[in-house]
């Protein structure tokens, strides 16, 4: 019996103690009229060895060559120590740290995480995670509407090149709360300030670098949002903030809420999940922030310690009036990210960012030099770039995948009308010189 430790003697003694003769009697309160479960269609159990044989075969089947897709999920190097540590049973198998005295390890780690994320984003505070970038955007939108006391409007303006996958999920998640999401068209890949009049607006959402890898004029957009008395929600890739201006410093007054996906920080791609979403904000809005928050305090002996705080915001206390229904979040991935940020450190993260950018630029420059490819949009990009193949990008992508096992980028036509010939490419610091050259050569061969 897998994982059940009872001996026959145990079972007899336990049944005797309870005063029944068979386990089945313990279920006597289940009405007879309910049909008993029939699991016959499920195969019989197998050993760990056999299970690993089956699943290893399937995993091997999905192995591919180098990845040049980003689009919200990135193939960075993860130091060996990160998951060695995160897989320790003491991090892997506890519950949410409600019993603070028995959870100081996780709680202190979360406090360190909040510190790192606040500093990276230039915001005052961070929470202990939401599910992913998409749910992070949804929670940021709902939070902004709660925070904005200047207007009763539930209209939120979304700049054109915000991650379409985040936006799609956010539409589902906020859809039944009367929120109006106004998605602007991008102009040349960027947001054009001041072209439209949206009336009263609760918040403006902008992504930096945007989904196309382009650098938006975030200072101008932030000031424009402030002039409209709307809150500014920044969607960011935390890795890039080692070198890019943090949302807290944008424009005159900075962003109000910052969200995104923490996957680049030590989390494997794993088909897109589990990763974690993060939320950061100004201290004055902290009581409107959903999710767990850890505070530093003292114990009854005067020693420094950590505990979950501001729990009156949360569903287990506030019930129908909670800031969100979120309960379980993505704790283990935050553990990995905190360890990642500690090991990779200040210099390391900055170099990961600049090296990823340099690799992407190398690929883009080399491809464009051929004359077969050109940048889809003008202007500065970071770490990711849309290139125009001047023919159906999906077809080229499929050919590179099936024939050469290279994931050549994200064919933008899947998400944006009019960009059917563009591929969004990304080369992280993990791509070797040989891989970069192989990629360029193979892509150009296909185009030729």
């Amino acid at each position: 019996m897998p994982f059940i430790p009872h001996t026959r003697a145990d079972v007899s003694e336990m049944l005797a103690s309870i005063g029944v003769s068979h386990v089945e009697e313990l279920f006597s309160e289940i009405p007879e009229s309910i049909e008993r479960a029939d699991l016959f269609a499920i195969p019989l159990g197998i050993s760990e060895m056999e299970m690993l044989r089956v699943l290893s075969n399937r995993a091997r089947q999905d192995e591919l060559g180098p990845c040049f897709i980003g689009a919200g999920c990135y193939d960075h190097h993860i130091p060996a120590a990160v998951w060695d540590l995160a897989s320790r049973g003491e991090f892997l198998t506890p519950y949410t740290p409600y019993q603070a005295e028995a959870s100081q390890g996780t709680l202190q780690l979360l406090y360190e995480f909040q510190t790192m994320m606040s500093s990276l984003t230039g915001m005052d505070v961070a929470n202990a995670s939401v599910y992913d970038g998409g749910s992070g955007l949804a929670e940021a939108i709902l939070m902004a509407i709660r925070c904005n006391r200047n207007t009763k409007s539930k209209r939120v303006v979304i700049c054109g090149a915000v991650n379409p996958f985040y936006l799609r999920a956010a539409r589902t998640l906020v859809g039944s709360q009367g929120v109006e999401l106004v998605h602007c068209e991008h102009v040349g890949g960027r947001h054009a300030v001041g072209l439209d009049d949206f009336g009263e607006v609760a918040a403006v959402v902008v992504q930096q670098p945007n989904f196309f890898g382009l650098l938006e004029n975030v200072d101008e957009i932030t000031d424009w949002a402030a002039s409209k008395k709307a809150l500014l929600i920044a969607v960011v890739n935390p890795m890039t903030l080692a070198v890019l201006k943090p949302p807290g410093d944008w424009g005159e007054g900075g962003a109000d809420i910052c969200c995104g996906d923490g996957q680049p920080l030590g989390v494997p791609m794993s088909s897109g999940g589990p990763s974690f979403g993060f939320l950061c904000t100004r201290i004055k809005y902290v009581r409107q922030m959903p999710g767990r928050i850890v505070g530093r305090t003292t114990d009854s002996g005067g020693s420094t310690g950590y505990t979950l705080t501001l729990q009156a915001r949360e569903q287990h206390i506030r019930r129908a009036k909670a800031t969100s229904n979120i309960c379980t979040n993505q704790g283990l991935l935050v553990t990995a990210a905190t360890i990642y940020l500690s090991i990779i450190g200040l210099t390391g993260l900055s170099n990961v960012a600049s090296a990823s950018h340099a690799n992407t630029r190398y690929v883009v420059d080399k491809l464009c030099a051929s004359g077969l490819v050109s940048p889809t949009f003008d202007g500065s990009y970071f770490h990711e770039c849309a290139i125009n193949l001047h023919r159906d990008a999906q077809g080229v992508f499929d050919e590179l995948t099936t024939k050469h096992k290279i994931l050549a980028g994200f064919p933008l036509g899947e998400a944006f009308d009019g960009l059917e010939s563009s591929l969004l490419v990304c080369a992280t610091e993990k791509r070797s010189q040989e891989e970069l050259d192989f990629f360029c050569r193979t892509l150009l061969e296909v185009l030729n």
Partner: protein
């Protein structure tokens, strides 16, 4: 007790884990207005320092791998390491979410199989694996209920009924779906008050959310009647799968009359809780809700596994995450299901229930008061420490904190709220009889201390890394991020 310094206090300018730092690239092409002016506060430590710091921190955690963890409603069963190994293989870990299906058949086959297994164990018609946690499954479920009513032009239903003892996520989810949560009374025997239900239901009722076994830790015996009453009124039944471990292999929610449910794979299917996630909260539905399932779903076409999205499921409520939920967790749940098989699954509820009933009986023998003494325990049970509280001036929380000194994680305290000074105790099927006996012994000793030396409880814990933490101070003097001058 010595505190572990923060990682920031160990940091020194220009120190680094050299083997991890890639060569810098040029940023000369980025205009300076886009660049950061001052460095962020990130640690500058050696690899060994980081490893030692987080290893030491890990020692300050209780965990299933170290401690008995009878946290009611959380199903803290053993998390098999083989499942972690299975999901940690390069082919799974390195798969980009936008990889085409043609070269992702291994992953998709895993997800397809898990959909099939979960459909069978729940007795429903179809499953979507998209929700990333139980609470998101609840949201998806209520959005489907909403979409169902709207598709029939039944627009006025704006109430969701939840028992007073429901998990906090239930009413919170109702609000997130734009519904009003109305509460239904629970009777003295732990079953829902049927007369009250009859009064509450009507043309405004969109549905009802229930756990069964209920949050009072007893099987809701009138479930068939309840289903009838709610369905007759035009509402649908939502099953909160938090307590599915109690009935796995015994009865299916689909056969109790539920229309939609979520499963917590981090409970019933033994994926690790990770100190607060990740979870996974797949939703299962019967025929009337299939058209509304969240996407993507794995389907089969021409002998190949495919993602089914808006094209195949045009009435879907939509996506819930950027990509496809917590795939890594779903693979772990499949690995667990494969090792259990139908024969193993049939035993989960048996032994979870045996352990709970044994522990309840032994505690009652030792003089503790069961909240519902006439009822059978399910996979968990409630005791009330109300008498001890009145007699000795100690609270359930004091018992809980003292248990930590016995290296036992506290049961769930003060939930559900309608039972005073309660412990919700869930031993799970993976604990030995010896462990349960130790728990009883610890509880007896603690009660003896309550009588003779209550400070042993009120000042507990005594042997942990910290004494009791000042939560009031934490909330009043918010200290949420470390600052160089804060020590």
């Amino acid at each position: 007790m010595k505190s572990e310094a923060t990682i920031f206090e160990r940091s020194r300018t220009n120190r680094a884990a050299g083997a991890q730092v890639p060569e810098a690239g040029s940023l000369a092409d980025i205009p300076s207005r886009f660049l950061r002016e001052s460095a962020p506060l990130l640690p500058e430590v050696s690899e060994l320092q980081a490893i030692r710091h987080y290893t030491n921190l890990s020692h300050q955690n209780f965990a299933i791998d170290r401690n008995f963890y009878p946290l009611g409603s959380c199903t803290m069963k053993y998390n098999p390491r083989g499942t972690h190994r299975a999901a940690s293989q390069p082919g799974f870990l390195n798969r980009h979410p936008l990889t085409p299906v043609g070269v992702s058949q291994g992953t998709l086959e895993c997800l397809f199989e898990l959909q099939e297994i979960l459909t069978i164990v729940t007795g429903m018609d179809a499953v979507s694996l998209a929700p990333m946690a139980g609470a998101q499954g609840e949201l998806a479920g209520l959005l489907m209920i909403r979409a169902y009513h709207q598709s029939r032009g039944d627009e006025d239903r704006d109430e969701i009924i939840v028992p007073t003892a429901a998990h906090g996520t239930n009413p919170a989810t109702a609000t997130m779906c734009g519904y009003k949560a109305t509460e239904i009374r629970v009777g003295a025997d732990g079953d829902v008050d049927l007369d009250h239900l009859r009064q509450l239901v009507g043309p405004k009722t969109a549905g009802i959310m229930l756990t069964n076994p209920s949050t009072c830790a007893v099987f809701e015996r009138q479930i068939v009647e309840m289903s009838q009453i709610v369905h007759d009124a035009g509402g649908l039944l939502y099953y909160d799968g938090a307590n599915l471990n109690a009935i796995l292999g015994k009865v299916c929610p689909g056969d109790m009359g539920f229309d939609v449910l979520h499963l917590n794979l981090h409970k019933t299917f033994a994926t690790p809780h990770g100190g607060g996630g990740p979870g996974a909260g797949p939703v299962a539905v019967n025929g009337r809700l299939v058209p509304f399932l969240p996407i993507p779903i794995v389907g089969q076409r021409n002998g190949q596994f495919e993602w089914f999205g808006e094209e195949e499921i045009p009435k879907t409520i939509g996506t819930l995450s950027a990509f496809m939920g917590n795939v890594g967790i779903l693979i772990r749940a499949l690995a667990y299901s494969m090792m259990l098989g139908r024969n193993g699954m049939n035993r989960v509820a048996d032994f979870a229930t045996l352990n709970a009933n044994y522990l309840a009986m032994e505690l009652e023998r030792a003089g503790f008061k069961l909240a519902y003494p006439t009822r059978k325990a399910t996979h968990e049970f409630l005791i009330t420490l109300d008498e001890e509280a009145k007699q000795f001036g100690v609270r359930a929380m004091d018992f809980a904190k003292r248990l930590l000194d016995f290296d036992i994680h506290a049961p769930t305290t003060y939930f559900p709220l309608l039972v005073p000074e309660c412990f919700l105790i869930e031993p799970t099927e993976t604990e030995t009889k010896e462990q349960l006996d130790e728990f009883v012994k610890a509880m007896m000793q603690i009660r003896a201390e309550a009588e003779t030396d209550p400070r042993m409880l009120t000042e507990a814990p005594h042997h942990q890394f910290k004494k009791r933490l000042d939560e009031v101070k934490a909330a009043r003097e918010l200290d949420l991020v470390w600052k160089p001058d804060s020590d």
